[in-house]
Symmetry: C2
Subunit: 358 residues, 2 copies
């Protein structure tokens, strides 16, 4: 076989298995298969110009030795890491966890891996730090799961890596993928109007959140387009607790017959507040949420809500990122056109909505 005995003593097949500590290298495979390292490399990278028979020999040698290409060496040689970085916020938030899940899942269908960095606060400082970690670490592209970015200045980062932002916002110049919130909100509010409600109150997310703002704006616009009055908005912080606290105030407004909450958690708090105030849902007040938690179908009453297709969002962001990575191989900063992908949400009608009392 090959004569690279000078490289290391134990590499010859004759050596006992006792010295097996270091993982097998390409040279080991080559020796066992009786081919050159070059050919092993060709097989490992699925090149076409290898004879089927030798390919088989090499593959079985790989299997026998349990050979795994050394990622570090490959990355060093190619300059690419086969790794996608994900910057995410609080995973306790349902949507964030779902997005991460679907991104991981989508990436798994490629030969990339995922490295996750969590941002603990919404400060520009924290976000910048996360990016720093990722660019120090070896990633070829970054997906930013940014459902509540305080200020977009934080997104103006020095980084020549391809980036995709999840949860569409037009304030920045990066390609983005997100739910078409406006469409979902429109469906929700229209559903309530169609049921006969004169207007719809809004329990919004925090004012410094872009998604919250978008939903509030869409709510406002839908009412306006329908020629309805727009009640004053209440702002929560996405939590069930805030929904409950604000809900107690809403419950005291006898004119309110329908409420659109910016997420299901706040809707849950609202349901409890209305219940305690003796205002039955949906007989007295209708409630619509946003997100479609797994639990929402079992709230009392089951919650009408807007379902977001997180799977699709994950798939699309990964696709968009890979796209960029392939088209701009270290081209520097060239966010070509900043594509924006909208994923359609879907209204799920359940028991928390009904026509207003006669």
């Amino acid at each position: 076989m090959a004569q690279d005995g000078k490289r290391r003593a134990g590499a010859t097949p004759g050596a006992s298995a006792a010295a097996r500590a270091r993982p097998p290298s390409m040279a080991d495979v080559a020796a066992l298969a009786g081919v050159s390292g070059q050919t092993v490399s060709r097989v490992a990278n699925n090149r076409s110009n290898v004879d089927e028979a030798t390919r088989e020999r090499v593959l079985s040698a790989m299997k026998m030795l349990g050979y795994r290409p050394n990622t570090a060496a490959r990355a060093l040689a190619t300059g690419r890491f086969r790794m996608i970085g994900v910057v995410t916020f609080d995973l306790r938030a349902h949507g964030n966890a779902r997005v991460l899940e679907s991104v991981v899942s989508a990436v798994q269908d490629t030969d990339y891996s995922v490295s996750v960095v969590a941002v603990r606060s919404h400060s520009e400082q924290a976000v910048r730090e996360a990016f720093d970690r990722l660019s120090t670490q070896a990633v070829d592209g970054i997906i930013v799961n940014e459902p509540q970015m305080l200020d977009t200045a934080a997104l103006r980062l020095r980084s020549d890596l391809p980036i995709v932002v999840v949860d569409r916002d037009d304030r920045h110049r990066y390609p983005a993928v997100g739910s078409d919130d406006a469409e979902g909100v429109r469906a929700a509010v229209t559903h309530l109007l169609d049921l006969g409600h004169h207007t719809v109150a809004h329990l919004a997310g925090p004012q410094d959140s872009y998604p919250a703002r978008r939903r509030a704006e869409a709510w406002h616009r839908t009412l306006k387009d329908a020629g309805r009055l727009t009640p004053p908005v209440d702002y929560g912080d996405w939590s069930a607790e805030s929904g409950y606290l604000i809900g107690r105030q809403i419950a005291e407004r006898p004119d309110v017959t329908a409420v659109f909450a910016a997420n299901d958690q706040m809707a849950l708090g609202l349901l409890r507040a209305l219940h305690e105030a003796g205002r039955p849902v949906p007989d007295d007040v209708s409630v619509v949420g946003f997100d479609n938690l797994a639990e929402s179908a079992y709230f009392l009453p089951p919650l009408t809500t807007v379902n977001q297709d997180f799977e699709e969002i994950g798939r699309q962001s990964v696709a968009l990122l890979l796209d960029q990575m392939e088209s701009a191989p270290a081209e520097g900063t060239a966010p070509r056109g900043a594509a924006a992908v909208s994923v359609a949400p879907r209204l799920v009608v359940r028991g928390s909505t009904a026509p207003p009392r006669a």
Copy 2:
């Protein structure tokens, strides 16, 4: 300055910025600072034997060039990747997402990164594939978030990497970190007995889940220790839907005055079933859950449940893993003693439990 002009043409300071595409390497920093690459390496790794003045020079050169050490090259040279792999199941499950969150957070306090691999099914095949991915990829240790492993054979993996399993189970020989389920269950069941209930029914998780089994066993033992009868167990699948479906049957058993559900989601379904059957909670039936979802405090009624300290679990698993990684530097398979860390759960009493009707 240095004389490595042979390495690449554009590296000399005189070259225009036009050729700047490749990130700056150590040699660039060395050239700019007028030292050897070796010294740059020393500074980058915070070694002590560098003169304070040269250290400053090197640091400012790094800053000026925006130098970042190349992870791949470093890994190749050292044989360590500074990366921890996490194998996780469905992130839609609250607990899994929480564990991932806390693991990521804990790792972030070290200079390691996290690579996430998701397992889509509970088959040994899928788990093995996940491990394969991780060992192909560059990780120094693995944390397995395994709250519902079908069979532990799947955990008997060829992998000489340090491993920590989250969600303690004694069927395998790996170090593990998890909630002390038995203790949490005991607290929950005892709470109900103390309220005056003669016995407590159990809405269990799926039979092929170890955590579910552990909780069921602890429930059984607690009742037995108290000398109470143990009603037949009903098995759900963790989902609110299964809780609802089984709950409808439970609601028809007039003897049932208290139910312990193996998680909050099933408890939610149960609450709804009891409500629909006209059996008020807690007046007619008391319900206790397990997990303490963010939402549980706003269920109708607010759910008494067992809180798990996921943050602590994450911290502990990372600590345990780092421990192993440092103590067993490529020692092969030597799971020393298989440490097991138990994290104490805590009963949270809310409105879903009360003494039985007189």
